[in-house]
Subunit: 243 residues, 2 copies
């Protein structure tokens, strides 16, 4: 599995993904699932991927090849005018890969399974965030629920449900996302460190704040232990059920 | 779906289940999933069920009919000498229902899906707890992980993973279980109030402390709001990620 989260906040966007891929529990590896395209000062596009690794890599490669082979006739991630058009390009790439590999995957009792969180900002627009499905269609994040999760999302959802607010600072949101990962990592082996995280400050059109958080990262260790202690304290503070 | 939890503690056993059944989101109903057989002073047997409601009801009915028709030749829940033997009786009942209904279910593109948490105490033994699978086989709870969950278990697992200890008081454990339900209820519509809970004090061979907790229950409301507040405070107390 995989766990990825995207937050769309008033101040910008936060993306995080784990890096574990597995084909059975005895065959795990580390792969990057956070992909970035940028033109400094003009556009920042980030894609988080979950699903069959061969499929997600094919989609990413196709998108990159289209950029390299751009002849002006076809829009690419670097020329599309809006994030909506970018989302459609991702959807088209997913459908292209499905047309090539879908049948063979299914005849091997495998699934064409893939989901993306797409977010970014193109000059002239506000930052936007989308979830793109295996069918190539997509939804956009609205105001009521400012986060998206893909992959192994259940363990880390309660904390997001309770704490997320659109007016959070990016550093606060990064803390929240890492706590959501901590809960998931504790309960599910198929999600693994390190965590790739990108904090995007609105209107900067720059991806300067991109970090990889390793298992022994000081902040993450402190966060993880501190949170466990605080949860146990909070638990102890609440009145017992009367027996 | 369903959510059920069982805890095996030094001081006794705690069982809890939601009461929602659904066939699609537009067809929900309330059904009891916590079943008790007891002979005061001698034995207490509790079964929590998840899965296809027709299947779980058939298993419960079979077990009850076997008790009613007992002729001394065949062990029943009321005569089995150990909880291990009780677990085998549950497994046999599951297999009997599978033999009758399994094929028809599968030809209707439905699944023979069922899981049970079985717990209790028979005089002469310590309290014991088991998870019985659709194949009729089962596992017993050991010392390292003193809880079992069936049904929609992911949302409510992080708090159990962090807080559960075998030496908890039953009232403390009840508080923990209700928090685990609170997280699940907030994030998943297929799990619904009221919650049925049974607290069993070791060596009492009595099920006196059996309660149904409704949506507007004072303790549950206080717990749910108090916990949200404390989580937000705990979150605010932790240092932000440096941006």
């Amino acid at each position: 599995m995989t766990y990825c989260v995207g937050l769309k906040l008033d101040r910008g966007l936060v993306f995080a993904s784990d890096t574990r891929t597995n084909a059975g529990v005895d065959n795990i590896a580390t792969f990057k699932k956070l992909h970035v395209w940028e033109e400094p000062g003009e556009r920042v596009i980030t894609l988080l991927s979950a699903g069959n690794l061969a499929v997600t890599q094919a989609v990413i490669s196709l998108l990159s090849e289209h950029i390299a082979a751009a002849d002006g006739d076809r829009a690419t991630l670097m020329t599309a005018k809006t994030m909506f058009q970018v989302a459609r390009l991702i959807g088209s790439a997913v459908r292209e890969v499905e047309a090539i590999d879908g049948e063979a995957l299914e005849s091997n009792a495998d699934n064409f399974f893939v989901t993306f969180i797409l977010g970014g900002q193109i000059k002239g627009e506000e930052p936007r965030m989308f979830q793109v499905y295996a069918a190539g269609n997509f939804i956009e994040v609205g105001e009521d629920t400012p986060f998206l999760q893909i992959g192994e999302h259940k363990y880390g959802k309660p904390i997001l449900d309770r704490v997320t607010r659109s007016d959070m600072r990016l550093g606060e949101a990064a803390k929240l996302v890492l706590l959501s990962f901590d809960s998931t990592l504790r309960s599910n082996l198929s999600v693994g460190m390190p965590i790739d995280m990108l904090l995007y400050n609105k209107d900067t059109f720059s991806t300067d704040r991109q970090v990889r958080i390793e298992q022994d990262d000081d902040y993450f260790q402190k966060l993880s232990h501190g949170w466990s202690d605080k949860l146990r304290e909070a638990f102890a503070d609440i009145e017992e059920f009367e027996v």
